[in-house]
C-alpha cells in the first residue's frame, strides 16, 4: 500500500517525503476535526450520564 503510494508520488525523494508529511498532517487534522469527535460518543468510557 505505502510502497504503491511511494512509487506513484512524483519528484525526487525530498519532494516525496514532503508530500507524505503533508498528507499525514492532513489525515491527522481531519481525524481531530471530524473523525475523533464522531467516534468519541461511541466509546464506553464516555458514557457518563445515566440513560433517560
Amino acid at each position: 500500500m505505502y510502497a504503491w503510494l511511494w512509487r506513484h508520488l512524483p519528484g525526487p525523494v525530498a519532494v516525496r517525503v514532503l508530500i507524505l508529511l503533508v498528507l499525514a498532517a492532513a489525515v491527522l487534522v481531519a481525524c481531530f476535526a471530524w473523525v475523533y469527535p464522531a467516534l468519541a460518543p461511541l466509546m464506553p468510557f464516555n458514557d457518563t450520564t445515566v440513560g433517560n
Partner: protein, 310 residues
C-alpha cells in the same frame, strides 16, 4: 526504492524483485520485501497472498497509529479546546461589576470592596432554557483554576462537552431551599471538576450568577454508582423528603478516566451577597480575581462561616 539484488539477479525498474530472469511473466507483487527465498519461484498465488498480508499489515499499523491519535485527541486536545471555550464563556458571562471604594485621600489606590455576608432569604433565579449559561463556579481550594461556567442541562453533546459544568434539570437553582445539583467532567473536555477529590469539609464553593454570590461550604462527600440518583434529591440521599436546607451537589466521574462510579460532594449555603456589594473574601487571591492587597488586606481573615466543620 529498489529491492536489493539477490545474488546478482537483476532487478526490474519497477522495483519488484524478479528472482528468476526466466520468468518474465511473473506478476509484480505489491510488496517487494515480501519476496521469498531466491530459490523458490514465487507463484501468482504466492504473490497475491504476500501482497494481501502486506497490505493488511500496513492497515493494522496505520490503525494503531490513529488509535494513539485518538488518545491524544481525547486526553489532551479536548482539554485544550474545552479550557479555551469555557474561559471564553466565563468572559462573555456578563455580571454586575464588583465595586471598588472611592479613595478618600488623593493618590490612594481604589480598593476592591469585600461583600458583607447575608444570611436572610437569598434571591433565586428561574431555571433558564437548555444549554443556557446562568452562573459560574469557582473553588478557591483548586488553586490556579479560574471560574467555570454552569449551564442548564447535563447533556454531553450540548452542555458538558462544550460548556463545562451542567445543572441537573429539575433540581433547585442556586440559593434555593433544596439541592442545586451540578455535573462536570473529571477528565477531558476542559475537566471542570478534575480536582473534586481535593475538596475538604468546610471548603468554600462560590457560585456567581448575574447579580448574586452564593458561597457554599462543603459538608460531605460520597462515592456512588451512576444509578444512585438520590444524591441529587432535594435532601441528598433521602428522595421524597421535604428539604429545609440550601444545598449544592457536585457530581463527577470516578475513578479518573472511567465512568464506573461518581464522586459526589455536597455543600450547604453559608451566605449570599449581591455582587454590587463587593466580592466574597474567599475569592481574594484566586485566579481571575483581585488579590488580598487589592482589597487592602495583608492576610486572609478567619472564616466567617456559620457552618461547622472548619
Amino acid at each position: 526504492m529498489s529491492a536489493p539484488e539477490h545474488a546478482g539477479v537483476p532487478v526490474d525498474p519497477q522495483g519488484a524483485a524478479r528472482v528468476e530472469p526466466a520468468a518474465p511473466g511473473s506478476p509484480a507483487p505489491g510488496d517487494e520485501r515480501g519476496a521469498p527465498s531466491v530459490k523458490a519461484r514465487p507463484s501468482r498465488a504466492h504473490s497475491i497472498v504476500f501482497g494481501t498480508v502486506g497490505v493488511i499489515g500496513e492497515l493494522l499499523i496505520t490503525a494503531g497509529v490513529l488509535l494513539f491519535g485518538f488518545l491524544a485527541w481525547q486526553l489532551w486536545w479536548t482539554d485544550v479546546q474545552g479550557d479555551k471555550a469555557q474561559a471564553q464563556i466565563v468572559d462573555d458571562f456578563a455580571t454586575d461589576p464588583v465595586p471598588t471604594t472611592t479613595p478618600t485621600v488623593a493618590g490612594e489606590a481604589a480598593r476592591v470592596k469585600i461583600a458583607t455576608p447575608r444570611h436572610d432569604e437569598p434571591p433565586v433565579d428561574k431555571a433558564p432554557a437548555h444549554a443556557v449559561t446562568f452562573a459560574t463556579v469557582q473553588v478557591p481550594r483548586w488553586h490556579g483554576i479560574g471560574a467555570k461556567p454552569i449551564s442548564e442541562g447535563i447533556d454531553r453533546a450540548t452542555v458538558l462537552n462544550p460548556k463545562g459544568v451542567g445543572h441537573y434539570p429539575g433540581t433547585q437553582m442556586p440559593g434555593d431551599v433544596g439541592n442545586f445539583a451540578t455535573a462536570g467532567h473529571r477528565t477531558t473536555y476542559g475537566k471542570p471538576y478534575h480536582r473534586i477529590a481535593e475538596l475538604k469539609v468546610g471548603d468554600p464553593i462560590v457560585i456567581r450568577t448575574k447579580t448574586t454570590w452564593y458561597v457554599y461550604r462543603m459538608v460531605s462527600k460520597e462515592i456512588v454508582y451512576p444509578n444512585d440518583v438520590g444524591v441529587i434529591a432535594p435532601v441528598p440521599d433521602q428522595p421524597g423528603k421535604k428539604p429545609t436546607k440550601r444545598m449544592i451537589t457536585m457530581t463527577s466521574c470516578t475513578p479518573m478516566y472511567s465512568a464506573a462510579q461518581r464522586y459526589v460532594v455536597h455543600g450547604e449555603l453559608d451566605y449570599w451577597a449581591p455582587i454590587s456589594s463587593g466580592i466574597p473574601v474567599e475569592l481574594l487571591g484566586t485566579k481571575g480575581n483581585p488579590s488580598l492587597a487589592d482589597a487592602g488586606l495583608t492576610s486572609m481573615p478567619t472564616s466567617t462561616s456559620t457552618l461547622g466543620g472548619r
